[in-house]
């Protein structure tokens, strides 16, 4: 009995020793080595691919943000600022519920199923809004022109991109609200459309923040 207790203790001791040594190797040396190399060679990327405009940081090219009007009195959800290109809905984003002295954005999806009533309502409302917001006096958006990414929330809630189709149907509205020609805005969208990587990886996309920064420049120049 005594003997088997000693053996168990010795075995657990070996386990602890192994864990501590491997923690040093894989939990301290490895991440520090990667951080050192990353900060040395790719500091911009390792720190979140931040973008500057007019000398100040306006976000990360990888993280989607909202382009809304300031919240009015009595409003719960802000209205989109239609002067700017709009990104995808982000109904799955959360706010932090623990360690609340920070105001971290919590990435996430809605996790609503395809037959979920709430999701059906959200898609219906989003589609109607996209049609209404993007139709101008001489350009009518038809419901079937609205691509799926315009009315669905992404997996992270932080999708920085929209499909070129969604950018295209916003062009007339953007031109009108910024006093620019449709052709010039369309050209801007085309310049910011990124095709599939190597021609076949992923899907074509437009980075909304980069597009809006370019739009701001263009509008300022008139």
């Amino acid at each position: 009995m005594n003997n088997s207790l000693t053996n168990t203790a010795r075995l657990l001791g070996a386990g602890l020793g192994a864990l501590l040594v491997l923690t040093l190797v894989t939990g301290v040396i490895y991440p520090l080595a990667v951080t050192g190399i990353a900060q040395g060679i790719f500091p911009g990327k390792a720190n979140g691919s931040e973008i500057e405009a007019d000398g100040k940081v306006v976000g990360s090219s990888l993280i989607g943000q909202s382009y809304d009007l300031p919240l009015k009195e009595g409003q719960e959800t802000p209205e989109p600022d239609l002067k700017w290109f709009q990104g995808r809905p982000a109904d799955g984003l959360g706010t932090n519920s623990v360690n609340t002295r920070y105001q971290l954005i919590l990435s996430g999806a809605t996790n609503r199923s395809a037959d979920n009533k709430d999701l059906i309502d959200r898609v219906t409302a989003a589609k109607a809004a996209v049609v209404k917001d993007n139709s101008t006096a001489d350009y009518k958006v038809r419901p079937r022109d609205v691509p799926a990414d315009a009315v669905t929330s992404s997996g992270s809630g932080l999708d920085p991109d929209i499909s070129p189709q969604y950018a295209d149907i916003q062009v007339h509205r953007i031109a009108e609200r910024n006093g620019l020609s449709v052709a010039r805005v369309q050209q801007l969208v085309d310049e910011h459309t990124e095709g599939r990587t190597l021609g076949f990886l992923g899907e074509p996309r437009v980075n909304v923040l980069e597009l809006n920064i370019a739009l701001k420049d263009l509008a300022a120049k008139g």
């Binding site: 075995l11 657990l12 070996a14 386990g15 192994a18 864990l19 040594v21 491997l22 190797v25 990667v34 951080t35 190399i37 990353a38 060679i41 790719f42 990327k45 390792a46 720190n47 979140g48 306006v58 990360s60 990888l62 993280i63 943000q65 909202s66 799955g92 959360g94 932090n96 623990v98 360690n99 002295r101 920070y102 971290l104 919590l106 990435s107 996430g108 999806a109 809605t110 996790n111 609503r112 199923s113 395809a114 037959d115 979920n116 999701l119 898609v123 691509p147 009315v151 992404s154 997996g155 992270s156 932080l158 499909s163 990587t197 021609g199 076949f200 990886l201 992923g202 899907e203 920064i213």
Partner: protein
């Protein structure tokens, strides 16, 4: 080019990359586990452990090593989370509650990486990097060690010796996982994954104001998370988060990482048992199921049946634009057919049948190609069952790789394949029968049931992905899923090692004209059939209530 063609091309590119890596990596791993010499750094580590790496272990000793190391791992990770409030470098995040800390400790030590917490608001740098990421390495190395022990059981004769657990653990970590993870992490940073220790970032916004986000050692953790088929995300959105998976290329690269070791282990197996063709037969079985499932997934996701998806005009809910439907479908199948559970899109919002495919992938026992190590030993257990079925048909004593499959081996194999279904079905039934667990569902009807069935399937098979609408941070789910993960990991290992010990003691049976040729396509066909039929019969009733009901209604 249309999205369907692009999806198919991505799958073909992935297959090519995996095929190119197969031979060199498989050969290298066989050498790692067969070589007599120790690296100097390994000798230092053995000194720290206080174990002699050259002592041969019989199966009970090997198992005791696995269990002792894992028990210490659970305890250490539990304490690290409980003490987080006092740890320096933890951003001032508070301690994790006991039930969630138990669940998370069990989850990462068992290679499951089920997460009932939101990474970005809960876990500070120290717990993520020195706790969770360490288990990403060592739980994967334990899985490979057990698989190698079973392979040695087939390869060796008239001995009970299966190798040395400490040596297998250390070599798997130092010689295989660490160098590959280092390279992969650098590639990920080069594409935009973040890697810093600067804490909470306050970042200005285009419309004014600022946003706060949590940085950290993300790329280094992401690399081993995929490579070790772990799956626990730094952020809540896992590999859908742009800081974990920034571009279409990183998406395919991450899928490559999570498949490459389990697939290459089939060559390691072939070399160690002295016939690479036996390895190819196992590889062909895995590849057939994997490609078949991926094709089905692409078909159902591109067809996007289901009211909300039809209304939207595509299955984009829970998917990122940069990946699209094709690449997301490939990821979803790869992650659920391995024990990874990382997600680049949210399975709960897939079509009804698409969600069913992810569940069925896990229910197969995660063997096509499965987790690092656990996939190979799971598949070899199924091969033993398939050989047994073939033996019954022709009335011969079944043999596999020159070893008789007798009563003992079949008992071990039968126990192995009964454990996870028993856990899944009993615990799902308990959760449905109890009054409160149902309150955690986000969706109602068939999909609500699927959320709970998915949770227990994922935990018991050590996958870790979820129909994440389920609020799993309750005492019931934290405890019951934690127990399911521990039993689903370590009970099967007991039977695998017991079988390995029994096989290693046998003398080899010479092959005769009547021996079933297990390196031939006929056997691959038999094995695929056995896997699908056994899983189908086990889970059909449960699947019919959940994803099949949802998928056929739309």
């Amino acid at each position: 080019m249309g999205p369907v063609l692009a999806g198919v091309l991505q799958l073909l590119a992935l297959i090519t990359a995996l095929a190119l890596a197969h031979v060199p990596l498989g050969t290298y791993m066989a050498r790692v586990y067969s070589c007599d010499r120790h690296w100097r750094v390994e000798k230092w580590i053995y000194k720290g452990i206080g174990a002699d790496p050259d002592t041969q272990m019989r199966w009970p000793a090997y198992l005791r090593g696995v269990l002792a190391f894992s028990a210490v791992g659970v305890l250490f990770l539990y304490l690290l989370q409980r003490l987080q409030g006092h740890l320096p470098g933890s951003l001032g995040f508070r301690a994790i509650d006991p039930d969630q800390a138990f669940n998370t400790a069990a989850s990462f030590v068992t290679n499951t990486n089920w997460q009932s917490y939101y990474g970005e608001q809960t876990m500070g740098h120290v717990v993520q990097t020195a706790g969770l990421a360490v288990q990403n390495f060592v739980s994967a190395a334990v899985g490979i060690a057990v698989a190698v022990a079973l392979v040695r059981g087939f390869a060796r004769s008239r001995t009970g010796e299966l190798g040395n657990f400490w040596s297998d653990l250390v070599r798997g970590t130092v010689r295989i996982l660490l160098p590959l993870a280092l390279v992969a992490a650098i590639v990920l940073v080069a594409c935009g994954a973040v890697q810093n220790f600067s804490g909470i970032h306050e970042v200005g916004q285009f419309m004014g104001g600022s946003q706060q986000w949590n940085g950290g050692a993300v790329a280094s953790q992401e690399a081993i998370k995929e490579l070790g088929t772990n799956g626990g995300g730094y952020f809540n959105a896992n590999s859908a988060h742009p800081f974990e998976n920034p571009t279409p290329f990183t998406n395919i690269f991450e899928i490559f990482l999570l498949l490459v070791i389990p697939l290459a282990l089939t060559r390691t197996f072939g070399l160690m048992v002295g016939s690479v063709r036996q390895g190819y037969a196992i590889l062909a079985t895995m590849a057939t199921i994997w490609v078949g499932f991926t094709a089905l997934m692409m078909w159902t996701e591109f067809a996007h049946h289901g009211p909300a998806l039809e209304l939207a005009g595509g299955a984009y809910e829970g998917k990122e634009v940069r990946f699209g439907v094709g690449s997301s479908s490939i990821f979803a199948v790869a992650t659920t057919l391995t024990s990874t559970g990382a997600v680049d899109s949210f399975h709960s919002s897939f079509t009804g049948l698409g969600g069913g495919i992810t569940m069925l992938g896990m229910m197969l026992g995660e063997i096509a190609p499965g987790g690092t190590g656990s996939g190979l030993y799971g598949m070899l257990i199924m091969a033993v069952i398939a050989v047994f079925i073939a033996g019954l048909m022709v009335g011969r004593t079944p043999e596999y790789l020159g070893k008789k499959i007798g009563t003992r081996e079949i008992k071990f194999a039968a126990c192995y394949i009964l454990i996870t279904p028993a856990l899944v079905v009993v615990l799902t039934a308990a959760a449905m029968a109890l009054p409160t667990p149902g309150d955690s569902m986000t969706n109602s009807g068939a999909h609500g049931f699927s959320e709970i069935l998915y949770a227990y399937t994922s935990a018991s098979n050590n996958n870790g992905s979820a129909f994440a609408g389920l609020n799993a941070d309750t005492q019931w789910f934290n405890s019951s899923l934690g127990v399911a993960m521990l039993l689903g990991r370590f009970l099967p290992m007991v039977f695998v090692l017991a079988m390995a010990g029994s096989l290693a003691e046998q003398r080899p049976v010479p092959a005769t004209a009547g021996t079933l040729r297990t390196e031939k396509p006929l056997f691959t066909g038999l094995l695929v059939g056995a896997i699908l039929i056994i899983t189908g019969l086990t889970y059909f009733p449960a699947l019919a209530l959940g994803p099949l009901a949802e998928g056929l209604a739309s």
